[in-house]
Symmetry: C2
């Protein structure tokens, strides 16, 4: 029998790439998304339309918010989900400082509604989209899963991920039947190699790679680099960038482990990272190589809350999920650029930025 | 003009005593309570009926849950609240380990709904019912407000209080107009000196004093003391017990400070404790004196998550609110006993325990 999986936030960046790999691996996929971070010019979000074209398979789509318990209840009632992969969330760090209530409402209360529906419908397997931001300022490197969490989270976005993990820990302690994998992403970038789906930020990008892409294509005049006086190889911040296809594979590996013959039990936090860091200037150099363009940049002041260096210890993912990242920073830049060139306006049919 | 105050959870133990003192201080009080932790045998919860008798003033009462945004909206629309005092919460530590989702739903999501309603109706003053449990295992004593929070919280109840404080901190950073006092209670006990209102736990009491009262009156056969091998004066756990009337006064002091000519701004965490601890055996001795009864007790194993000693540094409350606790452990026991003797079944007209 084909296993059916509910993917919340499946129209977003990580969600859509994961849906693609799920379909390629024979899963039946139902997506729930409120389209806050996705473009839809027809009955289905454009990212999923393209996923369907790429895979020649179809995805059931529901436009709904997690706070809509009636919609959730209907979706759960009419399917037999083996597992939920939960991406749906607001995700802009800066915005979360301006609109903390919206972040707690969407991310924390939204997840609560999802968990309540899962409990009601006896679906106890969950892959949760967490973030390395739960580690706060690293006390040591590489960051492994036993590193303290929730201390020195500098923004509400990060706190929502931390709070949700804590709720999941408590839930798994109280009810033995839960099987939860919380995937702590480092810095997902890149795009599907086809260039048909990729990261499509609304407005000014918050993250480095889409910003770099938009500078390369002439949409933004120059890149701002926040500080070159960190204690790193060249003074700019070092992050563990991970190719979105590697990340998507990580979700499918987690899912397969939960559905397999020796499933993980209870709450399991697992890093998804490459284990190596690249500085901002290294990313710029790789992007210049991938795009064959010279990128204009300017060093500006550090940004509050940014840490010098962050990278993963990826051993546990290998041990528990049999997963390792395969692609390097040049692959990430090539695929990001390929997506950008083919889709100068992202998923929109014209430039509305 | 008379200042109007919304009190959520105003039919509960701390809530009802605070409502009484608010009325005595000339405030107009509107109570919202879902009656999960309160007895009501008529249109108004019995605690509030008695508060009205004691004060000869009336309280407007609404039976509603914080998740009912329509009810909240109606209440805010039809009043001009100067401030909200927010007690409404589930509060049983042990139960929170069994039912974590219910605790996160009621306490965290409930508070979010309240904050959203306050924001919508431009009410930006809040006194929040927090707890010393946010400090976790004390790193030093006495516990002052700069002690780390959220580390080593051993139960979901404590985590809900910590999460709410973090949300309030974020909210106050994002929006300058908020004025929030988060009162971190130590161990509230006792009752109004009239014996007309007091603590009325449903089922087997979770806390020491009501348990002791029920042993003294013959409702429970003996007291279980969880461990006598702690590093304390007599081996039993030491806590900072605070008389409920002192605690109620603390809330009114906080409210008056927020409404005064030099109001506190932003987020302010303030301890409400006496600054001295009493061991379980000291409480038993004081209760025996107050009740003139011999109490049977048994030493049993330590309880997971209990710390040896916890007591407040109460200086900040004195400095910011001009408040100090006045009553001692004997007062607390006398008033608890007086309440118990006059109300063997609490607020119920017959014993349903």
């Amino acid at each position: 029998m084909v296993a059916e999986v509910l993917v919340t936030g499946g129209a977003g960046f990580v969600g859509s790439h994961t849906v693609l790999v799920l379909l390629q691996n024979g899963f039946k996929v139902v997506v729930l998304d409120n389209l806050v971070n996705a473009v839809s010019e027809g009955p289905k979000p454009e990212a999923l339309v393209r996923v369907e074209k790429l895979t020649k398979k179809s995805v059931e789509f529901h436009e709904a918010d997690l706070s809509d318990s009636k919609a959730l209840d209907d979706i759960f009632s009419s399917h037999n989900f083996e597992c939920v992969i939960h991406f749906a969330a607001l995700k802009a760090v800066g915005e979360s400082c301006q609109l903390p209530l919206a972040y707690y409402r969407n991310n924390v209360a939204g997840t609560l509604s999802l968990l309540e529906a899962m409990k009601k419908h006896k679906v106890h397997r969950l892959v949760f989209s967490s973030s390395a931001t739960v580690y706060g300022d690293p006390q040591y490197l590489p960051l492994d899963e036993t590193h303290p969490t929730g201390q020195g989270c500098t923004n509400p976005y990060g706190r929502t991920k931390f709070f949700i993990e804590e709720m999941l820990v408590d839930l798994c302690k109280a009810e033995q039947q839960w099987q939860v994998v919380s995937l702590r992403y480092f810095n997902p970038v890149g795009a599907h190699p086809s260039g048909q789906i990729g990261e499509d930020p609304l407005g000014i990008p918050n993250n480095l790679m889409p910003y770099v892409s938009q500078v390369a294509i002439g949409k933004r005049s120059e890149l701002q680099i926040f500080g070159d006086d960190y204690d790193t190889v060249d003074g700019t911040g070092v992050r563990d960038y991970i190719h979105i296809m590697d990340l998507a594979d990580g979700h499918v590996s987690a899912l397969e482990r939960l559905l397999g013959s020796d499933p993980l039990q209870g709450f399991n936090a697992i890093n998804l990272g490459t284990g190596k860091g690249n500085s901002v200037l290294e990313v710029v150099a790789a992007f210049e190589k991938a795009s064959n363009k010279k990128l204009k940049y300017k060093i500006v002041a550090r940004r509050a809350g940014d840490v010098a260096t962050s990278f993963a210890d990826p051993k546990l993912a290998k041990e528990l999920l049999g997963w390792t990242a395969k692609k390097d920073i040049l692959d990430m830049c090539k695929d990001a650029w390929n997506w950008q060139v083919q889709n100068p306006n992202g998923f929109r049919s014209s430039d509305k930025n």
